[in-house]
Subunit: 345 residues, 4 copies
């Protein structure tokens, strides 16, 4: 790829953790030219004013982006804010591709969005234009897509964790799939909230929105139902842990048929055999945060519980990697026909 063949991108919302991570990945992506960064609240500043970096890249307002000069846009904006950018882009061109990291276009049905997010959807008409961007599940659709809705972090870890068993109808769906999730603090965003201060988070583990309350619950159920081809119920309990980045979902499922740990591991290994970013641990190994931190990797282990029909899947991703910016770039690579791992570790 020659220099002037570079794909020209904008990062909307570069002052958050996911937006900045997008920037760091795309800076080392050999096929990309970053044209501009935006952040409404930091417009006029430099990147080094808002992050501990020596990079002086300029930050502008969304409206100041010259959309015509772009080939693609990454949107890492607050919920509800993508609409205006999507409109500006569709008005300007029929080619510019969008990867949106918000939840705005992840739901098939605006009513579900409104139920889980407690707010009116700003642009339900766009919903049909977006493909749900869990790369490993929807790669072919993503390849053809112009607009991709990048999945949430908890949904990514959960769906990758149960997909192999669910697809093969090995899970007894009379009982709920129980997901006990642990997340690093960057997953909560870069907002000056009291509950996110260092002394509040440090030396603490905090469950929050447990059971059937957290916004990602609906997204997870929507996608798992498609995989299962049937109704199912999840219980989802996230916990905030004193770690900057990382995520690990411990998932409890009841099996329909007896399978040993080795058999289960074999099913996962086969399912993800050709995946560049999913690894399955065998033997006694169990996935941990450190298996995936600072990477786009998803690492999964599965263990049968002795003398019990239950199995335990542990699914680890970096919430800013495969759970946000990494997967966004992975999808971008698929959409533009590039090497899927370009720019990614």
């Amino acid at each position: 790829m020659k220099r002037n063949d570079k794909i020209r991108v904008a990062i909307y919302g570069a002052s958050g953790y996911a937006g900045y991570e997008l920037y760091r990945i795309l800076k080392r992506h050999r096929g990309v030219a970053i044209k501009c960064l935006t952040a409404e609240s930091s417009a006029g500043k430099k990147l080094s004013d808002i992050f501990p970096t020596t990079d002086d890249a300029a930050i502008m307002r969304n409206d100041d982006v010259d959309v015509k000069t772009l080939d693609a846009a990454f949107l890492s904006l607050p919920h509800g804010a993508a609409k205006e950018v999507v409109e500006a882009i569709t008005r300007t061109s029929t080619n510019i591709k969008i990867i949106d990291l918000s939840a705005d276009y992840r739901f098939d049905d605006a009513a579900e969005y409104e139920k889980w997010y407690g707010r009116k959807h700003t642009s339900p008409d766009f919903l049909d234009d977006f493909v749900y961007g869990l790369t490993e599940i929807n790669r072919e659709a993503i390849r053809e897509a112009r607009f991709v809705a990048n999945p949430g972090c908890y949904p990514t870890a959960t769906i990758l964790g149960v997909y192999p068993l669910l697809k093969q109808h090995l899970i007894e769906l009379t009982e709920p799939i129980i997901i006990d999730a642990k997340s690093g603090v960057t997953g909560a965003g870069r907002k000056p909230e009291l509950r996110l201060l260092f002394p509040e988070v440090n030396e603490n583990v905090s469950p929050y929105n447990i059971g059937y309350v957290h916004r990602h619950t609906g997204e997870i159920e929507q996608e798992l139902k498609k995989v299962a081809g049937s109704e199912l119920k999840i219980i989802f309990s996230p916990h905030l842990v004193p770690v900057t980045r990382g995520m690990l979902n411990t998932i409890y499922v009841k099996l329909k048929t007896d399978k040993s740990t080795d058999e289960l591991t074999g099913i996962y290994a086969t399912t993800y055999r050709d995946e560049p970013f999913v690894s399955v641990l065998g033997g006694d190994a169990i996935a941990t945060f450190r298996h995936t931190i600072n990477t786009n990797a998803s690492v999964i282990s599965v263990k049968k519980v002795e003398n019990s029909p239950y199995a335990i899947i542990v699914s680890s991703i970096d919430n800013l990697g495969k759970g946000a910016a990494g997967q966004a770039v992975q999808n971008f690579n698929v959409m533009f026909g590039l090497e899927e791992s370009e720019g990614l570790i």
Copy 2:
């Protein structure tokens, strides 16, 4: 209590985290005189040589303790090591009381100990002499006991968490009770192991011995069966989190009868109404590590999962407090007829 009425105690195994915590609690206990501290590997040193303290208390060998001068002994020794001290004490006197913090005398049946601990029991004959020291459940037996086996940290948090529902037969035991536990690192002991180094633990969450493997599984099942009056099955998945001290068990149970969150909370509040060290959170509050760190408190919240027969109990203790040294002193207070909260926060 006059000065010369103080109960004379020894702390065996003062170089570990639980032993040192015992020392710190007993130092501020107004009814106790600490006669001696032991630690085989640190004998001859001062406390300030092995902990960041200015306290120069001497550390001696177990054998150098003048047992005759004691009224009570706290044993915080490695598994299997309590036997010799128990023998020395029983040989010397029929009065000296013992609170043992190891697992050696927690099982009713030596075979169960041997199965879970993978080692021959050194002194099965003593098993009958020890009362299982979960204060809230066994207070009357503890009051009469000469020897108390202090419970493990995970069992304490779990049993207190499910006791109210289990006792009232509200849990559907056809499905396992699923315990997803998170523990601070002091729970792993003070041993120079690679896996416990700061850079291995920091920025990490590690599941270990998940399913039906961890040693505490047998202890939990033994005690829960007694409460339930029937067989039951647990799944127990501990996770190491980058926190010095603290523990939180997220427990998933299937209910026999539909109960609202308020009804469930009411059952817990009633059960623990008179308990000085158990608090039940109502409303939206959920227990966290910080509710109990540096205290002997147990804090519990219970939530019904919407449109589901399941409930989620979150049970928090400090693994060195109610999970070890705190409960040991609470039991000591009960055994000697003192104010139950003396010395404790």
Copy 3:
């Protein structure tokens, strides 16, 4: 002391870290009855609404305190806010004692306050009424005082660290006293600021306001000059470290006369011989954060630099203990003629 002899106190500003720490200490103080807690922004709430506790103590507005019912008031308010409470108290009674934890009344001269705090002093007339509350240096004045200005955390660690040498004129004041300070995050207060978020502080060490800029610089110089009886210059460089509470100042001084480490340690040991809360480490031991965390202790070590006229003093306190709430209660105990360590660890 009988129940009705208890000293009745109010804590103004109980929603901050120091205010809450005051509450926790005073709750276990046997000579105190806490009459009320205030916090302007949390008035009407309970303590358990704003901290992870099961304590439901009510929080009211400053103006709603019935000052007549008090014997003493602890003020842990934002800079400039103490004035109104001091006025209300002086208007009501000539007996109620005040311990103020803000910087408002620490300076001898309002101009110095205004220079370092960049704001007009609200009530310079009160300055003369307050005694600077570094207990070990000013104990006799504090005993007689009605109003005490509790020192800042950095000044407390620094002054205790250099006092023995400075008082004996052993420091060569032609060179500056260089103070390289490391502080836990609670020292920055409980405010929702971006820079204090967990992901900003974690895995980071941040110098800030280094050289001759930080507000505590003036307070330190004022007090050190009194000890030295002469002019002197300090360089003060604070660093934020990823720890909840704790503080350690590494202090570099040039000696006038050659002294060995043992001789220097002897001078410190003699100076603080009778102090209940100051310990001096000898031998190879060096003070660390953990020597003082969760206590009112000050722990100091001093080492001569080999083949050099310089010495290095390491002075550790807990910023919320001896650096704020602990010292406030110590001063309170002195002011009311109580055991100096009552309520303190």
Copy 4:
């Protein structure tokens, strides 16, 4: 560079933190083929057995390396262990290049090594063959070198921090250069020592070997004297902070001539103008750990102290990046005439 042109390297000592970091950097280096990894204590294992990775690279014994197949060797071995590998390589070939990360060949004089490391030097004859590998200072010599002694982490941060002023004779050397250093825990190596356990390090800051005691003191003085062209004295006080990786040295120097912060910053900016891995912060910005973590960057800020002849330099590197593996690869790139930043972030 074609595939079969790749430079074939071995990493000796891959089970430590620096060795593993070398592996991670060299894996993404486009000009390198990693031929083998060694670790005496883990020989026969896979990388995934000793680190949280899914990479199954084999680990062998030092003696099992087929030296003839190598173009270069990175040695990340314990002190004293490099000798045998250097001998094996020099015996086999006159071309294979070596980058040694230990302290064994950093000193010009074996006696200095023996004084600071308290052990007999195993191979003083090799000392003359090694170039001290601080890239920015010795680039031309490194370009011609066959053997490079990679600098220590503290020396790298310190020397880069004072080099611009020292070289221009702007520092008043009658007073010592005072270096107050803060290091992440990986700097202490991957050894199962009690003092490095999570609960010992967490919530703590520990000064150690302060004054004129730490082994890096001699290395720093040796190199600074060469820059200054005269004698000088340093005081060096390292502190362990609860961070996995990162390093920040706060350096206090007395200036010979009055210079403003802007003038000083200008001197640094000019000195490092063409350096790809050194950045100088201007304005109010101060270097922090986060400026350099996970990179090979060195970030420096310099501030004049108001009304004082002193200046404060803050010099940040990642102890595993520019302080170890990063600089080793930077030197490797220079030695082989590659793009200096290849493989590095």
